[in-house]
Amino acid sequence: MRADDDAHIAVPDPESDPESPDPVLRLHGVGKEFFGTSVLRDIDLTLLPGQVHALVGENGAGKSTLMKIVAGVHRPDTGAIELDGAPVSFPTPLDAQQAGVATVFQEFNLLPDRSVAENVYLGREPLLRGLVDRRRLHADTSHLLDDLGLTSITPWARVGSLSVAQQQVVEIVKAVSYDARIISMDEPTAALAEQEVALLYELIGRLRDRGVAILYVSHRLQEIYDLADTITVLKDGNHMLTAPAAEVSPDRLVRTMVGRDFAGFFPDKPADTVPTDTVPGEVPGEVPGEVRLALEGAGNQMVDDIDLEVRAGEIVALAGLQGSGRTEIAHGVFGIAPFTRGRMTVDGQPVHVRTPRQGVRHRLALVTEDRKSEGLALGQSVLANARLVLDAVLPRASDRRARGIPGVLRSLAVPASTVASAQDVEVQYLSGGNQQKVVLAKWLVTEPRVIVLDEPTRGIDVGAKRAVYDLMRTLTAEGTAVLLISSELPEVVAMADRILVLRDGRIAGELPGGSEEEAIMALATGAA
């Protein structure tokens, strides 16, 4: 056990509980770096048979990396892994699997057009004279399903015909079929509706009874308290807390997950829009702008009942966990996955945006979450990318308006040499920050009235982040309405005038800018 004097950490001592069995898996001081950036530092983790160990933390806290280390996808740079008290290493995921450590990732790895049985035994089908022994394949699967009390799933059902929850269960059954003694699950309920979760709970209960150790990553506090015996909190790659679930209050949990010091990093609001002291009952940060973008009861398959307003000169943030519907709102507004219900107005006029082209015509702009696959044509020049929207939507004006591109790039603090060679340099050779600036330039030259920024600072350096924040202030000063989507809570708190928190495709609540991160997390996770 790690000798530490950190008051936060209270590792449960198996010795103190006479009924507690020996741990099956132990991580000692595990650390991991990617490209010189440390993403995990000195993590200890102990999994006990028949117990559910919840791993929680904000987006980017290092949960996925830790899971991937357990799964053999990544190898730790420091520290050791012990299985049944003996040191092990998992060079490949297969090694982990053969050692009895199974992992159920968020994305399904199932073949939708194959049966349940074929999926469960994919790549190791029982053979009879060199051919697949279908009878045994189905019998084995049947046995496995019965064992786990999964009567609603038949071995020969096509996986694509199952509900999402049932597919999730098939993933877990597959893990169990490897005789896994340790199963780690990455947000297994992320894709499930509330009523579907019961099936998963039941299965987890059965696995626990069979003595399987479960590492459970989730954002939903409710689930964590329903299922977990022990909770470990990570933050920014650090091990913050490990304690029995019963001893950690939801308040303390949320407080441990967030809270860090970013003071002085964000540009201040212009003096005239700085809210006077937050008077209770008054919405702070309200600026006297016209309503630029409004949604009333907007919804589609992904989100529902969305009401929001963004005024000229205002920054409204959409906060929430991954999959809570933030990006889906952006896609609805911009016509990528249009809303099928409700009303949308731009500058007071009702609009129907069915395609991004129509969105651009209404002077909307969307800086997408994934800059490489959705924002840039990587093999094209900086200039070609920067004028892509002009070329695509306003071909007659594009030559004239493209003349402003060098100025826009300079105003975004793109290096002069890059601006000078904008016609020749392909964007794929730029740094992430400069790539993002090209994306921003592409939209700025269209002079949008509403700009939606989806994770605008993800994966870019500090200097570029600052440029993005400065730009947001400039835009609002010019009367542009900004809708900011971000998982970076400090960014949301410091930049936004108002914060809408989403949960499960709906708006869970609204908070004023400058609110506590804990309050946002509480709304996002449903702890409030």
């Binding site: 969307l366 840039l376 044509a377 990587l378 094209q380 004028r387 892509l388 939507v393 071909p395």
Partner: protein, 329 residues
């Protein structure tokens, strides 16, 4: 002294890099090498008359390669152009049957038919989401089969004299003298028009769509219409090529056969990436010239013409493999 040596060395390195980069310069170097080899074997090739004859022969392939370039750079294929050339020539011959008065009406009809084929190729590929490989392969077979059905296997009729002028004659039109073939002028006009088009918003959006269709669509482009226009251009230019080829070679049952692969080989040889987003129209043109020059070289070496498909096959594989290798490094 050292400084100049240093600079010249770095210039040399730059050129080496350029010539091996697999782009326009590489194929230009290939063209020059092949032409030089031809001239060494047969010095009379360097005479203006022979060069013009070469240009006349190469012009239809240049026109087809430009058409194919639009489609390939947008991320698709057009396998139907060979059959379309054949169909157009056969239709023209049968409908006009040598009647001068019908030349212009038939040309108008060919234009409409060509654009219709392009529109079907484009809309089936973009709106019905059939991969263009399949759409245009199907179109190739449909055109091929329909023409055989219609003509009973042997094309009849004849092209009018005025129809054949573009592919056969030149300026000044005095037999036995040096002349600039009209086909060369047509090809130059086509290439010039294509170069201008690629500098327009349409051209840039088309390349961007080939590079990243999602990002291009999210930037407000109608990717389906961009690509459909590329197919329209390809079919239109195949129609132009049909006029040149019909004039040059007359009507046979084999006319147009295999041209789609020659056009694709030419474009790929020009370093234009299959899958789209990379390469210039000038490089595609140079690719067509290099391919034609290579075949001329085989003639000079008295190799049987039946070796062509095999060579083409090797070229297309090597060119793509070369591009892939460059991409990795």
């Amino acid at each position: 002294m050292t400084l100049t040596a240093e600079t010249s060395r770095s210039t040399a390195r730059q050129w080496r890099e350029r010539l091996l980069s697999g782009g326009s310069w590489t194929v230009l170097a290939l063209l020059v090498v092949v032409l030089v080899v031809i001239v060494v074997i047969n010095p009379s090739f360097a005479e203006p008359v022979s060069l013009m004859a070469f240009a006349k022969k190469a012009a239809p392939l240049v026109v087809l390669a430009v058409g194919q370039y639009f489609v390939i750079v947008s991320g698709e294929f057009d396998l139907s152009v060979g059959s379309l050339v054949g169909a157009q020539v056969v239709i023209a011959a049968r409908l006009m049957d040598g009647d001068e008065a019908l030349t212009w009406p038939v040309l108008g009809l060919m234009l409409v038919f060509g654009l219709l084929v392009g529109l079907v190729n484009g809309l089936v590929t973009t709106l019905l989401r059939v991969p263009s490989f399949i759409t245009t392969l199907g179109m190739m077979l449909v055109l091929f089969g329909a023409i055989r059905l219609w003509t009973g296997g042997a094309p009849t009729g004849a092209l009018s004299e005025s129809f054949r002028v573009l592919g056969r004659k030149g300026f000044p039109d005095v037999p036995g003298q040096f002349q600039v073939p009209y086909a060369l002028l047509v090809a130059l006009v086509v290439v010039g028009f294509a170069v201008l088009l690629m500098r327009r918003p349409f051209g840039r959006s088309l390349v961007a769509a080939g590079d990243n269709a999602v990002a291009t669509a999210y930037s407000g482009a109608s990717v389906w219409w961009l690509r459909t226009r590329a197919f329209l251009l390809s079919s239109f230019l195949a129609t132009v090529a049909a006029v040149l080829i019909g004039g040059f070679a007359g009507v046979t049952a084999q006319v147009g056969q295999g041209l789609e692969f020659m056009a694709i080989t030419a474009v790929v040889l020009g370093g234009v990436a299959l899958g789209g987003g990379r390469g210039t129209v000038v490089a595609a043109m140079v690719g067509a010239l290099a391919l034609e020059a290579l075949f001329t070289l085989f003639n000079q070496l008295a190799l049987p013409s039946t070796i062509r498909p095999a060579v083409q096959g090797v070229i297309i594989i090597v060119a793509v493999a070369y591009a892939a290798r460059r991409r990795r490094t």
